[in-house]
Amino acid sequence: MPRQRKPVPGVDPKLLIKDAARLLPEPSRRLFLRGAASLGALAVLSGCDIIDGDTSENALRVISTFNDRVQAFLFNPNTLAPEYPESMITRPFPFNAYYSEDEAPDVDADKYQLEIGGLVENKKPWLLPELYKLPEVSQITRHVCVEGWSAIGSWQGVKLSDFLKLIGADTSAKYVWFQCAEGYSNTVDMPTALHPQTQLTLKFDHQILPRAYGFPIKIRIPTKLGFKNPKYVTAMWVQNNDAGGYWENQGYNWFSGL
């Protein structure tokens, strides 16, 4: 997840467009640049009103959707993310969200239950002690942030594909949607959800997941950018419609595969 949105407060988008346009030869300016500089401005100034934006911005969105398909094609369900020795774990592993650490959700373990919904046979909610009893897998993989930085962490939990089987999920459905305690959300494609390293994570470095890293549940997906790894997960739905996600809805690429 990006640490924070990086709008530029107090910057006139029209001036930005002019500045950006200086970089380019004359004929191409109008065609390619108006949307570019106004893109972020629109996202910031008008909230979710992005669809009403320029045609050039819409063109960028269309290409991003095309890139989703290219990435789904490049995604090999049998290709594993590289794993690393314990000595390479980044310590301290960074806390990362669009809010500060003391604003992170503080989930009450005793009251917590994981809500299950959608195309699933058994929608019984799960309590934490039940989840802790399930067979555990472990991975030491690289978390790559959309910002460019990366960190190596150690995660333990239940293989998500096993859990989906356990609850009788229809794995021919297209998506799995995750809802989080603070309102964050993510939609993930089913092939990625079924990837052998995709994990319903309950522990970091063999300790119960601390609040900073997403207590009680993080979905660890080493084949996707960090913001596609939801934390503080409270609900999981198997469905055929794309429910989007917190950052995806603001213009970040949907598939965001690694």
Binding site: L16, A36, L258
Partner: protein
């Protein structure tokens, strides 16, 4: 040139000048110029989200305004850059232009022409012939183009293309390689544009071909 045999005496001197840059070179050159500027501008904005060094690029000279916008531009312009680049390389090899224009090249020649250039005694009479310094710079920038695309792919897909990523020394090192290649291209651009301005007929040749 066969053109001269088929044109009559009434044709102007300009029209009978031999073609220095065929149309495909000019078209791919200017598409590449646009794609390169888009990639650099958006790349600077992306860099700013997690700087590798102790500085950032001013948002005013970067493209995309914020990270999401810059990423949209970067991963759109990459298609322009790569498809145009592939067409250019294919035609460059098939037409024999690379072989004709860039080879042979020897260190002694490069040194000789570099010294001549620094003394201001390098001839630009025949624009269809590259001097040894030009040959070296153009070979270098072609290679850098390959490196920046491959290192970019290894940052974009460090799982699916992990063999490529490890070739560049892993994810983190690949970011530095990508940055270094950008720096090389920007440096080349400064020299390239300065020289084009100093020898305006070379700019003209890249626009009208002669």
């Amino acid at each position: 040139m066969t053109i001269q045999a088929t044109t009559g005496p009434s044709m102007t001197a300009t029209a009978t000048k031999p073609v220095i840059h065929p149309r495909w070179v000019r078209v791919t050159h200017w598409i590449n110029a646009l794609a390169t500027l888009l990639m650099i501008g958006s790349g600077w904005q992306i860099y700013d989200a997690a700087p590798l060094f102790g500085f950032t690029f001013p948002t005013k000279i970067a493209l995309g305004n914020w990270l999401a916008g810059a990423l949209l531009w970067h991963f759109a312009a990459m298609w322009l850059l790569v498809i145009n680049g592939l067409v250019y390389f294919m035609l460059g090899f098939l037409s024999g232009r690379f072989r004709r224009k860039l080879f042979p090249i020897s260190p002694a020649e490069v040194l000789h022409d570099l010294l001549a250039a620094l003394r201001g005694k390098l001839s630009h009479d025949d624009l269809s012939m590259y001097n040894a310094v030009q040959k070296l710079l153009y070979l270098g920038i072609l290679l850098t183009g390959v490196v920046i695309v491959l290192s970019g792919l290894s940052i974009w897909k460090p799982v699916q293309f992990q063999v490529l990523t490890s070739f560049f020394g892993g994810y983190n090192t690949a970011r530095y390689v990508h940055f270094a290649a950008m720096t090389a291209i920007v440096t080349f651009l400064v020299v390239h544009v300065t020289l084009a301005v100093l020898v305006p007929k070379s700019l003209r040749a890249m626009i009208v071909g002669r």
